[in-house]
């Protein structure tokens, strides 16, 4: 075990895989000489050279399309997007091409490409840099969507994403890069499609992922002081979703709150709620609650940003609602129940 940051864990995953397999290369804006916009590729150019750590012109639909073409020759590209917000410039390549080429060609072409980069809000970056877009990619058949919340998961999941023969949307938490954690040494992988119980509890299940998982854990800690025992489940892979681990938890706690960073409408949380009510209908003691961003493009001003983003008080309020407990006292921060 080593103590690594989330960023270092991702770097280690890429380096170990590239040492193992010559067909893997990293491409994107600023990945080489600048050492990565978020320094995830620190030292990789020096280690692997310009043929395998490739700085590109600023054009997402260019290097995403180039990655797709390279994958068709049997190479395994890792395409870094400076942020998932910019993937919208390349949406035709990802949705109309990467996701569908295997199927449209009758299985003739495989598409072993990883698209990775940060997603979610990172604090005062405004409407075009703060989106949580996992719902969009999770809705497209042919794509896998992976969102690690800890350094250990980041390393283990990225290694598996690189080895996968299908296109993987790998969304890193922009506010998680500096988070430290224990990471197993060597070639330890985390399978795609397997959820993880990040905290055990008996009274209520919270399902959350990426940055929001860490906020949910904080809320669970506060609630523990009030003798409310919360279980926190991290799907880790949004698609394919490991429903069973979530259902097992809800069957134990009989209550469920889904916390996500993005907007509510048609989001991943809505899908989880639909599945939990169908699979755990008789086990539920309360309607499932959701906590998510309000449906406003992200404002810049810090106070406004905080108002619309899920936080510990809102998560606590949701847990108390599903437990039919009185909400916090009126002098605390005003709560807004989000439908």
């Amino acid at each position: 075990m080593a103590r690594l940051s989330y960023r270092e864990a991702l770097n280690q995953a890429m380096c170990e895989e590239m040492e193992r397999d010559d067909s893997i290369f990293l491409m994107g804006e600023e990945v080489g000489h600048y050492q990565g916009a978020y320094k995830v590729s620190q030292g990789m150019l020096q280690k692997f050279g310009e043929k395998r750590v490739i700085d590109t012109p600023i054009a997402e639909c260019g290097f995403v399309g180039v990655g797709i073409g390279a994958a068709m020759t049997g190479l395994r590209p890792i395409i870094e997007l400076m942020t998932w917000n910019f993937s919208l410039v390349a949406i035709d390549q990802i949705v109309n091409n990467a996701a569908k080429i295997r199927l449209m060609s009758g299985g003739q072409f495989k598409m072993p490409v990883v698209f990775r980069g940060p997603g979610g809000a990172a604090g005062q970056l405004g409407a075009q840099h703060s989106q949580a877009l996992e719902y969009m990619y999770a809705n497209v058949p042919g794509l896998k969507v992976v969102m690690p919340s800890t350094p250990a998961d980041a390393k283990g999941l990225l290694k598996m994403a690189i080895r996968d023969d299908d296109p993987v949307i790998f969304i890193e938490g922009e506010r998680l890069y500096g988070v430290q954690g224990e990471v197993p040494d060597g070639d330890v992988v985390v399978p795609l499609g397997k959820a993880d119980v990040k905290r055990e509890g008996t009274d209520c299940t919270i399902v959350s992922w990426s940055k929001m998982l860490t906020v949910a854990l904080e809320a669970a800690e506060v609630l523990a002081k009030e003798n409310i025992s919360v279980e926190v489940v991290d799907p880790r892979t949004i698609k394919p979703l490991d429903g069973e681990t979530i259902y097992q938890s809800v069957r134990k706690t009989n209550r469920c709150v889904v916390v996500e960073e993005g907007h509510g409408f048609s989001n991943v949380g809505a899908e989880i709620v639909a599945r939990v009510q169908r699979n755990c209908f008789d086990d539920l003691d309360a309607p499932i609650e959701r906590v998510h961003r309000m449906e406003i493009p992200m404002p810049y001003a810090a106070n406004l940003e905080a108002m619309i983003t899920p936080d510990v008080p809102r998560i606590i309020a949701a847990v108390k609602r599903v437990m039919y407990l009185p909400e916090s006292k009126p002098e605390s921060k005003p709560q807004s129940k989000v439908e």
Binding site: F25, R52, G62, F63, G65, G69, A70, N96, S105, D164
Partner: protein, 378 residues
Amino acid sequence: MLAKGQPVPIAGTDDEPFSILADDGTIRPGTDAPEIPDEQALKLYRGMLQVRLVDDRMMKLQRQGRLGFYMLSMGEEATHFGGAYPLRMSDWCFPSYREPGVFFWRGYSIKDYVNQLHGNIEDPVKGRQMPVHHSANWLNMVSISSPVGTQIPQAVGLAMGAKISKKDDVSLVYFGEGATSTGQFHVAMNFAGVFKAPCILFCRNNGWAISTPGNKQTASKSIAIKALAYGMPGIRVDGNDLLAIIAVMQDAVARARAGEGPTLIEAVTYRRGGHSSSDDPSAYRDPSEPKEWEAKDPLERWRRHLESRKLWTQELHDKYSQEITEELMACVKAAGELGNPAPETLFDDVFAELPPHLEEQKAEMMSRPRPKPAHGGH
């Protein structure tokens, strides 16, 4: 080779497109024509004739309601074979949707072609794609994309991949002049130039993008001239002159293979039919225009060339026509009788392995009574 400070060679940009064959099929004096052996010259003729005959029959089937959709190549056949001929089989081709001749030249059979259009049980893409969207990995022919221009960055990526893998293979990507208005064309040109990708970017400038004429597509003098800004040679060639296309392609392939980077080729031709079976061009263009281009027919020009080489005879033409038609009719008959893809194949190839959520959906689907198809084929 582009050395520093030297102008980028742009052939034929301001003048008539580069041409070798005169209308009567003879070689223009002073031009350096590539040598095409007799057997290959006849094979190219038979190939273009096959595209013409297959197109004619398939369009009729579409009009009879037996195919959902079709796209004609009439008058543009030389661009298919001129592009395909100089490649070797380890090279790659990213077609758009109007180059069936490239598939045929590389070994795609009429049977594969007709079965794809029918989406039946022997369709190489298993009934997944619209008609005309072929895919043949075994021939290094990449899946056709409906949104125009998406294949251009991919072809550049494939070429860069070949370079990374230390192979000297090249990629050839086709697109219409309409696709040059997309962002994808421009990013791909830029990437190809910056990375010296061994890629040939082949624009079939056929004058019309559905109802949009070339002069509404760009204010540039030509498509080829755009190469100048991206630091690569741009060549404007007569798209109905098979020999001239082969000549510029051979140059471009040699440069790419030698590590000297990409080339943009603009083949000036004309879309004599509609955009697709869903389009009626009489609504937007003067019917005299396609008539004028009939006189510049690429197949007829190549025929005259073969005649000048004493290779072409009416008997040989009739023999080819008969062979192709017989094969075609047999394939059409067989395709109509073949069954549809089995419902259980529906979930194959979404991913390499079936994930649990699709296993569940497949089991649920298979447990339902099967709906009867409206009728046998389409």
